[in-house]
Symmetry: C2
Subunit: 217 residues, 2 copies
């Protein structure tokens, strides 16, 4: 989840070129095109994104781009798919609160980065159904990976077995997206901790416990 | 908050025409234009929304629409401003959980209505800066009104004085927007209760208490 722009410089070690085509000229072309989409989107936003502009920036013939990616929606979807190929794992700090706080710090950083690539990708998902589907795939994958943090908390005895991991993760992270992406609030550096703490307190009070929870595994 | 489309038929008693121009031909024109924007947006989405289409549907000369609303962004902003003029108040059920649950039921209904006017207005806010500002004004106004529900809970002794009302309201409502608007999840009828209950449990555990809270008023 967190950062749809994850495989940017400074992000994950593995680049976008590793997935479908593990190397060679085709893989290098894909990497250049994806990097060009990211750069164009960050600089110009969705309205400035064109197949021609991406092709020119990537140094790739535009017929190649049309053939492989078809249109702006296809380009955006591939950027998002590539971002999911980065081996990202949720932070492991030793406590549920620490894990959720670190996760929220990553989310806040991605939603406030400059150029605003992550928010541009979210905005683009309201323009292109193909990008929307790819973004939802990426988020789904991220939330699934994050469930490991909840599993560790259960293993440590911080949470009861059968805790609704997804509900807890949504409660912990949704306020950041809501405040920044939808409400347009100025980023509050205390927000990651507040949202993490609130979710942990709710979880400790049984908000995400299974309906008939007792403490048996 | 809840429903940017609130003043639709079946919504609030006061129509969009009541605010700036309380009656007469100008007020009736505004009401017709606003209703036309809502209908066109619900049927066609942002990409199908044009000044000409709105003027034709409203039976108003297009130069009148251009002069008063200028463009699609101006039309959307006026729809959102009009939606805020409806005298809406948060539900008053006698308990914090009941109030938040009823609020979330309204939000879920608005985010899943057909035609999807509320989500179309949210999507439009990613296209038009003017619509985005108007939507944020509307949400700000709705959250301010909802603070009354938290005030009542403090008065009843359910929450300590100095509770962060906005933080609590965001925690209670954000999961619905996140799940439905951003993650595109199918609407889960249990979500309003889950999100309300989680926020109440967090609040009861002190998540939104003032930093140096004791129980003195």
């Amino acid at each position: 989840m967190t950062n749809p722009a994850q495989s940017q410089p400074g992000g994950s070690p593995s680049g976008p070129e590793v997935r479908r085509r593990p190397g060679g000229r085709t893989g290098r072309t894909r990497a250049r095109v994806i990097e060009a989409v990211r750069a164009e989107l960050g600089e110009r936003g969705y309205d400035g994104l064109t197949v021609e502009g991406v092709a020119a920036r990537a140094g790739v013939h535009r017929t190649t781009v049309y053939r492989r990616w078809r249109d702006v929606g296809g380009l955006l979807a591939d950027v998002l798919d590539a971002a999911g190929d980065d081996g990202w794992q949720p932070p492991d700090t030793g406590s549920l609160h620490g894990d959720l706080l670190a996760l929220n710090e990553e989310i806040l950083a991605s939603l406030t980065e400059r150029p605003p690539l992550s928010t541009a990708l979210i905005a683009a998902s309201f323009r292109s159904e193909e990008a929307a589907r790819a973004l939802r795939r990426l988020w789904e994958d991220r939330y699934v990976r994050c469930e490991a943090a909840v599993g560790r908390a259960v293993h440590r005895g911080e949470l009861p077995p059968g805790t609704d991991a997804r509900g807890l993760l949504i409660a912990a992270t949704a306020p950041l997206y809501h405040q920044i992406v939808l409400l347009g609030a100025p980023p509050d550096p205390r927000l990651p901790d507040h949202a993490a703490r609130s979710a942990v307190l709710a979880a400790s009070a049984g908000a995400f416990a299974p309906p008939s929870a007792d403490d048996g595994a």
